[in-house]
Subunit: 668 residues, 2 copies
């Protein structure tokens, strides 16, 4: 239902997370061979090094963010929401570190490989996977790279990594230096990967000398590295001198400074120990006295980082800044905001979250049903080879992925079972109590136990505050058992730059048909079908229950475009459609969520589970489209007409509501 907001105000995380670089607008994918709409933003088709070149040519500065893999599954879920939030600020890329101890190449939810894959495929973030080569066989490294490629990863940070012991001998067969890894990647995978290597502004601790280390860096670049990210440092001139020295010996590729906003005393100590760096005295002088005051240290760290970054940017020699986030948001975001690099309201190339997987770069149309669950849609279509030619569209039958490993972490609810029970009711007594929960979610009012309903099985995010334009109608209908899970208002030609609903390149116009999707009882559906006759052909509907009985007036089962844009010099773009064929797959998922995420919170045979089970077995999933987008949305009128038909005088209904309000204990 966050979507009821998203569609309206376009502020959903998932929508924003595709914003990286979308402002460098313009050209479309050359590779798209289809006759339909072209991809709108160049960045989707460029590789990372091309994006950098384009930004440098346009003088458009960027930032990037480094994260390390989480230790626990719930940590992974949190990190991924962080990707969505921080992705909305418009990083050019993020990178995920590699920890040989943490089984980094495995399929575990917490592995570097899986985290990077999720960032690319589900969060739409251009990502770099770190890879260390020491103590690894060539075969193992090749396996990792093959897997990374298969998962849609396009960028590798080639590192030597830390030896196991303090000292170590060179291996004849294996890798001894990052340059060996760079050469291996180029020889085994040709030009497929963009390769990043590490630079050490104060020289690598193990290098014989600063100059010797510079030569090593030159070798890595000559071996095929595309750009350099440096180790952290504490003074701008440290980096600027290093940059000068690199240029002097003929290193011409981009060299990005690694920025480390000091966020706490311990983390600083730890990092300094690992990187064998010395903290300048003037910094230690400041923080030693306040080492137990985290807030104070962080504020200082932010100031110190901002000042250093300003110097770097003003030098004119630094096109982008790379941040060591330590997986935290506040400090880095604050620094970026003060530098003016954080994109507060990113332009969206399309109204939904674009995946960064190379094979999806020409994808430009999706069914509306997954609008609040884009990760689920991407997951279930991950095996499709062509976008959008392989799409469900008119093509006979789409092969949606099964829901079998439905519990894949990025489809899981972020809330614990206890939290869910508090939100959705420890004990349900009737369908009305379910109506109440939906209503509480809509109104953002606490439930009878005083707990806010922050999510529903179909909407992981709380309803955004901007939803007032639909809120009243939504509350009214949910209270009466029209359990809405998705909607969008109609829009008749707003500028594509509109901060709320705009998307795509400037100078265009965006349109929407009003959409409403909800669960409701068969009694309501019977009345609704009578009412809908009055609205032919203005309103298209699909009505289906869990057993798949589908009632529709869709002409010839064609998709109905409900979001489209008209742009200068382009074909029409229609990124969102109501598609009858994929609706049947969505139906399975939408009904399954009742059982998997809600009913299973309760004991077998418990009344609560029975109630959810009853709804699952007997309710219908309904979607309505008002085709007359230039007129006022008639869908609320349709629902009102349905209520009238139900032959219950409104005042009596209010009574019933009233009674429910009195003896609330009955429900929780």
């Amino acid at each position: 239902m966050v979507n009821q907001v998203q569609r309206g105000d376009g502020n959903c995380q998932s929508c924003k997370s595709d914003s990286s670089g979308s402002n460098s607008g313009g050209e479309s994918s050359k590779e798209s061979s289809r006759c339909s709409t072209p991809v709108l933003d160049a960045d989707r088709s460029d590789r990372l090094r091309d994006k950098m070149r384009r930004r440098m040519e346009s003088g458009d500065r960027w930032f990037s963010l480094e994260f390390f893999p989480p230790r626990t599954a719930s940590g992974a879920v949190n990190l991924i929401s962080r990707f969505d939030r921080m992705g909305s600020g418009g990083p050019l890329f993020i990178d995920i570190t590699w920890h040989p101890a943490g089984d980094p190449g495995s399929d575990k939810e917490t592995s570097s490989m899986m985290i990077a894959s999720t960032a690319v495929n589900y969060c739409g973030l251009e990502s770099i996977l770190h890879l260390t080569c020491c103590n690894q066989t060539k075969e193992k490294i090749t396996d990792y790279l093959t897997k990374a490629k298969r998962l849609g990863l396009k960028n590798i940070m080639a590192l030597r990594g830390d030896p196991l012991g303090e000292d170590w001998e060179e291996e004849e067969e294996g890798f001894n230096y990052a340059v060996d890894l760079v050469k291996h990647i180029r020889s085994e995978f040709d030009d497929y990967f963009d390769i990043c290597v590490a630079g050490y502004p104060t020289g690598h601790p193990e290098a014989e000398s600063y100059e010797d280390d510079l030569r090593h860096l030159k070798e890595k670049v000559d071996a095929g590295a595309d750009f350099v990210i440096t180790q952290l440092f504490f003074r701008a001139d440290t980096f600027l001198k290093f940059l000068e020295d690199c240029r002097a010996i003929g290193i011409t590729c981009p060299i990005l400074p690694g920025i480390f906003p000091i966020q706490g005393y311990q983390s600083l100590r730890q990092l300094v120990k690992l990187s064998k760096l010395e903290v300048p005295e003037d910094i230690t002088k400041v923080i030693e006295p306040i080492k137990d005051n985290d807030a104070a240290i962080r504020n200082y760290g932010i100031q110190q980082a901002v000042e250093m970054c300003r110097v770097l940017l003003e030098s004119g020699k630094v096109p982008g800044l790379h941040f060591y986030t330590l997986n935290r948001e506040v400090a880095t975001m604050e620094v970026l905001r003060q530098l003016g690099l954080w994109i507060e309201d990113p332009r969206r190339p399309l109204p939904w979250a674009v995946s960064a997987h190379p094979k999806r770069k020409v994808e430009d149309v999706r069914p509306i049903f997954w609008a609040s669950r884009p990760k689920s849609y991407i997951y279930r279509t991950q095996d499709w080879d062509e976008f959008p030619n392989g799409r469900w569209g008119n093509s006979s039958s789409p092969a949606f992925g099964e829901l079998n490993d439905y519990y894949l972490f990025y489809l899981k609810s972020k809330s614990s079972k206890d939290a869910l029970l508090q939100m959705w009711g420890e004990e349900l007594m009737s369908e009305e109590s379910v109506n109440e929960i939906f209503t509480c979610y809509i109104t953002a009012q606490p439930n009878r136990r005083g707990h806010k309903v922050l999510c529903l099985p179909w909407n992981d995010e709380p309803l955004a505050s901007e939803t007032n334009l639909l809120k009243d109608e939504l509350e009214k209908v949910n209270r009466r058992g029209v359990l809405t899970i998705n909607s969008q208002p109609n829009i008749n030609g707003k500028p594509s730059t509109d901060p709320i609903v705009g998307w795509g390149p400037a100078g265009g116009y965006v349109f929407q048909k009003a959409y409403l999707e909800f669960f409701t009882s068969s009694e309501n559906v019977t009345a609704l079908l009578k009412v809908l006759k009055k609205y032919e052909p203005r309103v298209n509907y699909h009505i289906v229950n869990v057993h798949g009985r589908n009632l529709t007036n869709a002409p010839d089962m064609q998709p109905n475009a409900v979001t489209w844009g008209i742009f200068p010099g382009r074909e029409i773009v229609q990124p969102t459609v109501v598609d009858p064929v994929s609706f049947m797959s969505w139906k399975d998922e939408a009904f399954a969520l009742w059982i998997e995420q809600w009913a299973k919170l309760y004991e077998d045979e418990s009344p609560s589970r029975m109630i959810i089970k009853y709804i699952h077995d007997n309710y219908f999933l309904v979607n309505l489209v008002d085709n007359d987008f230039p007129l006022e949305n008639c869908l609320w009128q349709v629902i009102d007409d349905m209520f009238e038909l139900l032959d219950v005088p409104p005042e009596l209904l209010n009574d019933v509501n009233g009674k429910r309000c009195e003896n609330e204990t009955e429900y929780f």
Copy 2:
């Protein structure tokens, strides 16, 4: 330039000629496998017998028209314009008779085969090709059918044909009766063709008896005929009895009465003689006295036909009427108008003329350039195997047919060389005289010699009178050497049922971006390019000369959709685009028309030819799109700005015009 009207008022013949059955709207082609827009009207994908079934189910009466092949090439050109005009009234189909003497299966412009092919492919008319079998070998017949299939013909009227001599012997090997031909078609071509056979309400003249003839008809239907068209008759009850008798012996397929509006004394005599029919006394009584008064006879024929048709239709047993037109328009159209069967303002499934060739039935997008020359576009894309997947669109390079047999009759001008010289000037003295001719065409004013300019090489049709909304601007700019050949106004969401610009199914909305295309001098282009900088990115342009130097601001050479429609329950339809790739092919054609159709009217080396040659060699072809379709069309402002830049005070220009007006003899 008729297009400057067509696009505006949608009244061009070619646009109307696809209207047959477009009102039985609804479903889309099941066979379309592409991801883009679906075909809008069912009839385009149905075969003739399905269209009939659909009409009978909906109680929607139809009419059809019979023509015979012309004797001369110019007769063919006239007949084809007649197809366009009469096609606009919405016949369900037309049929072309077969004359063994006239080399009917050849590639001659006048052959039955070529005329039927043109009706299908270029006029978008569902057509039936007659085929007679007597005195033909099976091989020859199979050749004819194979050729017909290749040309896109889907329907055959299977006839025995008239014997060479008065009496004839049955041939062992050959065909003796139409039933043999029906069997042959079904055995050789399975179910590919819809087959029509002839019925004789008064019995076939050579049949032993009326009953015997009915049995023959039953055999033809049992052998695989899909429907029956009858010989002409003079009394409704003659047909109704025949129909009853057919049903009685189990002939269940549609039986369509053949209507012959008496149009003249001689033609009646002739036809009666051929068909060995007797004209009822009450009819001869009326016409004998007025036999020398064609008008009187025709008026009587119209009345007589209308009355008879009314009886037939009121019987409720006649779903459609088949007219023997004798290749004339007036009488048949008048009868149809009085019966209310003539569609005065047919709904258009798309804004351009849809071809009836089966392989083109999913075609739903075309470049705007050929809007006034749809037959040329169809001709040049006739070898494309897929529509619209094989379209020029984003796909790298379209293979447009060459202009080599450019003089194919249906691409020829309808006017004679003398007529063209009168319209375009016996003798040209300067570029100004060319401006004058364009201006006269626009204003529909006679030229200096008093001749109306009814066509231009790029526009076969005179500018329709409804063009006033563009006329003033067009006149102004043409007078100053902006030689417009194509344009459309912007439209911001008019109902799809709008009589002027509407197309597609009811309940939708249609849109257009303003478009203007013209030839102009390099001086003007230099100024225009300066001006256009002010209109970025609002205005997209393509500017090219005969040598192919193309100046454009089209992003990434993408097509620009300039006509689109939003419909209930459907994806977006974008039938017209400005496509940079196909523009280069259109450029060749547009420039070639200067030489082929205009310059070559004059002697080699003559000043007139030199002037046209100069324009051909030095002018640029320009097209402009105003992307801001919700705002007022800015393209006229663009041209005004260009004129201003040319540094010539308007009043001085008027002087020049004035001078031209005085000594007009200078120009002609």
